[in-house]
């Protein structure tokens, strides 16, 4: 009899070759481009929409000197913050009755004004509903105060000269480093989550092929079900690693070719994860593998119970939500200093890999990772074992066969041992 790993290797090799040399693998390789492209477009569109929709416009009904002073002050404040931080000021020539004019402007559909600022710097009047006070009112107050202060200083000839901060450059600031490590932690979690998410449906449906082709009977008669499950998981892991390697290579090429175009605008943050970059990369791969094996074994077990693709489609949504919940749980550890929820995220097997990679980014201690990897590996074995037994009982309509931990025992050699 072949060993579990030999048998798993035969299954894995077949699945790997069948998938990688399929024309649909190209689509799989394009998936992240589509995913991130869609996400990028969505974020850009949402922000653009948000900018246009949430940036209030204020009509400034004042003489030209007041309007000019307000405009100059706003420009100065925006230069130090952002354009979004202050309402847009649109000058409107004053009419005879400014109060009536303000009412008309607020009712003007075309102008879309949130409020009207009238009067002078010494006696400014803001006309508008009470709800504008929180954002528009407070910021206009700042603009007016600053304009008045400037005007007073200019009048007294006491305007101080421009002064640049004297810079003392340090290697790092702890607060800054913590923030950047959290960003690295979240990026690593997102990467693990996104790649596993892309493969979830594949994992769910992989046994349906065997069942619909009736090959499962041939496989089950030749190798242990545990080996079939493990082989399929390893094949999918291999496929995803090929994908990751290709995506990384493409990203590397893109950076090499295009970085010089952006280097004047983009400064890469100087950050080192808690465990250092080399160990972090190794841990990222290990935790990705564990995350994939844990969720993969679960999905394989769930998918094994389905009889056709329609059932797979039905269970895809709950499975995606399950992944999302696991991600949210794992995200609670980022920036957390202990606590029951963070501890749960570290211990709960499905969130453990993503929680631990965040820890690797934030903390230099290594031993918890060894513990976590062993813990997660135990769960992989457990889930494969449960999934295959469930498959045997419900799909093959068989008693489970053998004790639960029989795979740990060495098999006695028979006199007729073919080996």
């Amino acid at each position: 009899m072949m060993s579990l790993f030999e048998a798993a290797w035969v299954i894995a090799r077949r699945d790997f070759v069948a998938s990688v040399f399929s024309r649909f693998f190209v689509l799989f390789l394009l998936a992240p481009l589509l995913l991130f492209g869609f996400m990028g477009f969505f974020i850009y569109a949402a922000e653009a929409q948000d900018r246009a929709a949430s940036h209030p416009v204020v009509a400034v009904v004042a003489d030209s000197a007041t309007t000019a002073a307000l405009d100059a002050t706003r420009a100065r404040l925006v230069a130090s913050t952002s354009d979004q931080a202050f309402p847009i000021l649109r000058p409107v020539p004053p009419a005879e009755n400014v109060a009536i004019q303000a009412q008309r402007l607020l009712a003007d559909e075309e102008g879309g004004y949130s409020a009207v600022l009238s009067g002078t710097l010494q006696r400014p009047v803001l006309t508008g509903p009470t709800r504008v006070d929180e954002f528009v009112g407070r910021r206009l107050q700042l603009v007016v105060d600053e304009a008045r202060r400037s005007a007073a200083l200019d009048g007294a000839g006491a305007t101080p000269p421009a002064l640049a901060l004297e810079r003392v450059v340090t290697a790092q600031a702890v607060g800054n480093l913590q923030l950047m490590r959290r960003t690295v932690a979240q990026a690593a979690q997102s990467l693990i989550f996104a790649v596993t998410l892309m493969l979830a449906t594949l994992l769910l449906s992989t046994l349906v092929e065997e069942k619909s082709n009736k090959i499962i009977e041939v496989l089950a008669a030749a190798v242990p079900l545990d080996a079939i499950f493990l082989g399929k998981l390893l094949a999918m892991l291999g496929i995803s690693l090929v994908g990751l390697a290709l995506w990384s290579a493409m990203a590397g090429i893109a950076v090499t070719f295009f970085y010089h175009l952006f280097q004047n605008w983009v400064t890469l943050p100087q950050v080192t994860p808690g465990v250092g970059w080399p160990i972090f990369v190794v841990l990222l791969l290990l935790y990705y593998t564990m995350n994939f094996m844990l969720l993969g074994a679960l999905f394989l077990g769930i998918g094994g119970q389905a009889t056709n693709i329609r059932e797979i489609q039905t269970i895809s949504m709950p499975v995606t939500l399950l992944q999302l919940m696991v991600l949210l749980l794992a995200m609670t550890v980022v920036g957390a200093n202990g606590g029951a929820l963070a501890l749960t995220a570290y211990i709960f097997p499905f969130s453990s890999p993503m929680a631990m990679i965040a820890r690797a980014s934030e903390s230099p201690t290594l031993w918890p990772h060894l513990l976590a990897l062993v813990w997660q590996a135990l769960w992989v074995v457990l889930i494969i074992r449960v999934s295959s037994r469930l498959f045997r009982i419900t799909v093959l309509k068989s008693a489970a066969g053998g004790s639960f931990f029989s795979f740990l025992r060495r098999k006695p050699k028979s006199a007729a041992d073919p080996a």
Binding site: M2, E217, A221, V223, S398, G401, D417
Partner: protein, 315 residues
């Protein structure tokens, strides 16, 4: 003394509370061709699946080539399930090699042997053709090659003739005989009696989940006395007193079981009684008659119905 390739004692299996197999005892000698005969639903496939360890019996024991856990003998066993299955995108050679690899045969050797098997059986042009481009019968042949590519000591075939046309059925019979001649033990299930009669040395007749007979084909046939057929010139006369009580007349032909005392005393009585014997023959019972006698009329009718359906496919 010949050892046993398979030995099963008291195999019982129920599905959802309904008993499918209720105590199967069989013993398959090494190097023999063994048939499991029974109508659809008799429990043949369940029995084979239990023997191979695909499903576990609720009770009973079995050994496969000396192994109590069938999967431990996987490298020296070949299995063709009733529901055939191959990966449609695989080429024929790869499919054969993959099935061999599942049984521990290195892929390279599997590919070489696969190509030879295809060549030897007139399918050399299909070496690199994908399974999905083949006819059902041809795909079944490929799966059969995959079953024997690793040169197993035991080949288990579940309804191997089902779905094959007459030419492929003949080809399969040759292949089974060749494998057996090379020392391989073959066990197959069938609901077509003449396949078992032509190929098997030993059979098990299963009906309603129980073994009704287990032994040599000749022993099954010997369950019925040979039939005597007599045609006499003289329709009446003293010779008729020598006829046994259960003799049946069809036209001028009489038919009855050969008496235990043999034909000679009766023959003398016919001659002395002036029968004027024109024809006299003693015919051994066929397996079909034996099956009817052992499994009952209803099981035989079900077998015939299933067999007709298969012949319809073959035609």
């Amino acid at each position: 003394m010949v050892g046993l390739a398979i030995e099963a004692r008291g195999l019982v299996k129920s599905f959802d509370g309904k008993e499918a197999v209720g105590g199967i005892d069989i013993a398959v000698p090494e190097g023999s061709i063994y048939g499991i005969l029974g109508p659809n639903g008799a429990g043949k496939t369940t029995t084979l699946r239990m023997l191979l360890g695909i499903i576990e019996p609720d009770s009973g024991t079995r050994t496969l080539l000396g192994f109590e856990r069938p999967l431990e003998a996987a490298k020296i066993v070949g299995y063709l399930p009733e529901e055939r299955g191959l990966y449609p995108a695989m080429t024929t050679r790869e499919a054969i090699a993959f099935m061999g690899a599942l049984r521990g045969l290195p892929l390279e050797i599997g590919r070489k042997r696969g190509a030879i098997l295809l060549e030897q059986n007139g399918l050399g042009d299909y070496v690199d053709k994908p399974i999905k481009s083949l006819s059902k019968g041809m795909a079944q042949t490929i799966q059969l090659f995959g079953t024997i590519v690793h040169k197993p000591k035991l080949v288990v075939l579940d309804e191997p003739f089902s779905g094959l046309d007459a030419i492929n059925q003949g080809r399969l019979e040759h292949l089974i005989r060749d494998e057996a001649a090379a020392g391989t033990t073959i066990i197959f299930s069938t609901h077509v009696i003449h396949h078992a009669e032509r190929l098997c040395e030993r059979i098990a007749i299963i009906a309603a989940g129980r073994v009704r007979f287990e032994g040599l084909v000749s022993e099954a046939r010997d369950r019925l006395r040979p039939q005597v057929r007599l045609k006499a010139r003289n329709p009446d006369g003293a010779w008729r007193k020598a006829l046994p009580a259960d003799a049946r007349q069809a036209g001028d032909l009489w038919q009855f079981e050969l008496p235990k005392s043999g034909i000679e005393p009766m023959l003398k009585a016919f001659i002395d009684g002036g029968a004027g014997i024109e024809e006299l023959s003693i015919e051994r019972s066929g397996l079909h008659d034996a099956f009817v006698a052992i499994a009952g009329e209803s099981a035989a009718r079900e077998m015939e119905a299933s067999g007709q359906a298969d012949l319809g496919v073959a035609a």
